[in-house]
Amino acid sequence: MTAVGTPMKRREDPQLLVGEGKYVDDIQVVGQLWMGMVRSTMAHARITSIDTSAAEGADGVHSVLTGSQLQEMGLWIAPLPCAWPVTEDMVNPPHYPTAIDEVHHVGEIVAVVLADSRYGAVDAAEQVIVDYEPLDAVASIGLARDGSATAHSEHETNKAFHWPLVPDPDALDAAFANAAQTVKANFVQQRLIPAAMEPRGVLAVPSPMGGDVTLYSATQVPHILKVMIAATTGIAESKIRVVAPAVGGGFGAKLNVNPDEILAVTLANKLGRAVRWTESRTEAAFSTHQGRGQLQTIELAADADGKLQGVRVHVDADMGAYMMLITPGVPLLGSFLYTGVYDVPAFGFTCDGYFTNLTPTDAYRGAGRPEASYAIERAMDILAAQVGIGPDEVRRRNYLGGGDYFENLEVPSTLVFDSGHYGPNLDRALELANYEGLKTEQVRRREAGDSKQLGIGMVTYVEICGLAPSRALGGLNYGAGGWEHATVRLLPTGKAEVVSGSTPHGQGHETTWSQIAADKLGIQPEDITVLHSDTAISPLGLDTYGSRSLAVGGVAIAAACDKVVEKAKQIAAHQMEASADDLEFAEGVFSVSGSPDQAMPIQAIAFGAFTAHDLPDGMEPNLQEQVTFDPPNFVFPFGTHVCTVEIDEDTGEVELLSYVAVDDCGNQINPMIVEGQLHGGIVQGVAQALWEEACYDEDGNLANPSMMDYLVPSAAEVPSMVTDYTVTPSTSNSLGVKGAGEAGTISSAAAVMNAVVDALSPYGVVDMDMPATPQRVWRTIHEAKNGGAS
């Protein structure tokens, strides 16, 4: 009996599929007040006056509070937190839940209406009249760098920090000085709107006596949020309970401490009434943090055969208007991966963070790592073309370990990769994609002058996940650890409870955790209840992000189960009058070696531990153990993706013909969940390559804040994917597992753009900005044809 490795259907799904999932917006409380946010319509301006009189007189309105009134009420003791001050001198302008006298992005809250219905709150908010004195808006990272205007008028520059990672500057200079081949490329990582299926929402409920408050929030991070609410408001942690009910996706955008969360908690406490808010889709586009927003320059130094000698990278990163929880750390998460899967003797990375008058950026699926993977994997294709070898060959020549198996290998960015085996992974991907056949067809179409040209793109990625060893995070100035907690209880009836500090927002933790615990405890997965997402039930935890849940939280559960089994073994040995060393444990039964008649099922021991009638001397009753696991190292999943596109030269349309993904996330607990994660992740990266971009005008207004204009692709736009796996277990944990939640996104944008550029290479095209829209592709072809290119 093994549950691990079985594609069990997700136990979470039936209720979600029939509409019985309980989201924040489904929870109703008598006497609740709705917040309606009055949001800035200006990207940068001084507030000269706010007239709330009409709104205050509107039906059902309880009160209207401006930013300065809220500030005077003393509801908080500190601004919203940034937990990742990446340098000692990082500029971090105070970011309060509402603007006080100056607004810094469209969508920033300037006043809050409290009303007895959602409609009433929104209607009244429309009646609040705010007068602004416009200031020059810094509407792009490019303008921020130029510095002709500053996003915060009290600042003299837009630069927030400079962060270098250059382990050996002399070696890096020498590598470029002696290089036979150099590549220099600039890439734009456009801003993306996370667009989780469930918008964010909050509901703060004060208890009638004692000052306790419960916050229901559509969050990925109830545990972190609880600590941060305490630090921001001065309310004791013991009086705060945070619950994340069913959460409909997050992709990083629900990994924050948001103005609405602080407003709901403090106003509920102040007023003694429940206070709530649910964002609209357009409100989300303006106010919930966005992803990416980087200008990258990558340089490669190589010998004449395309063997890398050095990689030098500079990133200008768009912070947006404020530092949110981990805004400045996002580019750093990528910094270690700009050498990808390659053996690079010398490496250097620098990053400058800049403020703009745009919505703040922060973590979005992959957080810094898709950007890094994109830069190195696009640059490798440019190098291959320059050297005159294929994209597969340039990769083979540079793989760490020569493409052979390695473990615990230190790379120039100072990390130690747990394990890797890149050569066979590439072989399998090329075989599944029929790479040779595709190349033949590509040549045929080119020679025939077909109006539909083929492009083939490949990527071999590595990612860093399983965040994280707490000491490593400390070394990066991150304001928290990376451990995870688990408690496992074997109940008197032989069923089990698993309590996890890892908080799911759609991943299927309950299913996966039950599979791990079932095998460890020797009971059925359906006999295991998984508890999570409520700080009153699961007080210790660090939640779900950075593909960390299995490699940290899952490993903690396995270890707690081991402790339960070990205690049960002591009881079994005592009751069977045998030595614990002579006991075997298999399929939930302890038996004495050589005496198969002497056996006890673990369920019987569970009841015995509960009654405590006959336990070894000094042993505490009950079977309950806990483990807090702090991983000794990150995990480094990898894989090769091959994408084929067809470009209609008459319209510029890029059609995805096929997508092959061969991933290696080490051992798999539930292959179906792994595959689901990869499908979704791949589409999210493909979306960056072909569809998605938050477009701003020169005044800092978002031009596409609705789902009509911001093009999230649907199932109709993507091909059925071909997925397969190699298995190279991690050396960082006892389960040999890595992570799969972000892998697809980390690889797929580059795979698609490599294919697009490959298709257009006969026109002399060497690069194209994302997204590769039909208009952009058509114009590129059109200009190449009319510009006299071959």
Binding site: E126, D650, W691, N704, D709, S714, E717, P774, Q775
Partner: protein, 272 residues
């Protein structure tokens, strides 16, 4: 994304709807499938004081054989159009175009009359009406009148329907065996066309363009080329005499280029 306050009333017949429109004047809007009006209301781009719900008028949902034409009730859903065997035979362009609107959920609620009344130049069905050379029957306080498709679309989101009139029927000349083509270009399957082209051959070729001006339009230049036996070459003037919108998906130059490509493909499809 929350609409402003409005009053709501249900009309159970066309006459009841006309009475409500007469009573409330410009402050009232008819609600059929709601797939154009409700989004506008949610963005507060439309703030009608009264919504008159006509979606329950079941006797305006039909597809009948009218002899030389098909008579289609205004409340007929896109779904009914795309699954009608009669339409597949006698008005194959409209039958196909109905299947290209939005996604299945939209097509189950959206109605032909509602789509035409909205007069959106980016919508598919107005182009199909124009290419078929159909007409629209409107009923008001003083009775019924029939409006030719070419007289129906009068400006951006404006039609020849008066404020106190209700569309009751759409008439499509039978076109069995006539070559037709519809080319829709968009970035996602469920989106409005960036540009679209509807082509009907036959004795009087008709070509209608989607999203190439402020209102749904026929293209006289292309039609003249086709009538003169120009075949696909007639497409070369498809960008002329157009005034396409500019947005994040396409500027005017690209839209004109797409019009030429799509009309060419539409003619080829119709001729195949």
């Amino acid at each position: 994304m929350i609409p402003a306050a409005f009053d709501y009333q249900v009309a159970d017949s066309a006459d009841a709807a006309i009475a409500a429109l007469t009573e409330h004047g410009d402050d009232a809007k008819l609600l059929a499938g709601g797939h154009s009006l409700i989004p506008l209301m949610r963005f507060r781009l439309a703030t009608p004081g009264v919504l008159v719900d006509i979606s329950r008028i079941s006797d305006l949902s039909y597809i009948n054989d009218g002899g030389d034409h098909l008579a289609i009730g205004a409340m007929t859903t896109h779904r009914a159009l795309e699954t009608s065997k009669l339409l597949a035979t006698e008005a194959p362009l409209l039958h196909h175009v109905a299947s290209q609107v939005g996604d299945p959920q939209v097509r189950h609620r959206g109605t032909l009359g509602g789509s035409l009344a909205h007069g959106d130049p980016a919508s598919d069905l107005p182009a199909a009406l124009l290419a078929h050379g159909g007409s629209v029957v409107a009923k008001g306080p003083s009775g019924e009148r029939e409006i030719a498709a070419t007289d129906f679309f009068t400006g951006f989101l404006e039609t020849a329907i008066d404020g106190d009139e209700v569309i009751t029927e759409i008439r499509i000349p039978k076109a069995a065996g006539v070559g037709w083509g519809y080319q829709k270009f968009n970035r996602r399957a469920q989106d409005w066309a960036i540009v679209g082209a509807a082509v009907m051959l036959g004795d009087e070729p008709k070509v209608a363009l989607v999203n190439m001006g402020s209102s749904p339009m026929r293209h006289a230049g292309v039609e003249a080329g086709l009538a003169g036996g120009g075949g696909s070459d007639a497409a070369s003037v498809a960008g002329d005499d157009t005034d396409p919108p500019e947005d994040l998906n396409a500027d005017a130059e690209y839209r004109k280029h797409l019009a030429r490509v799509l009309v060419g493909r539409g003619i080829a499809e119709a001729s195949a």
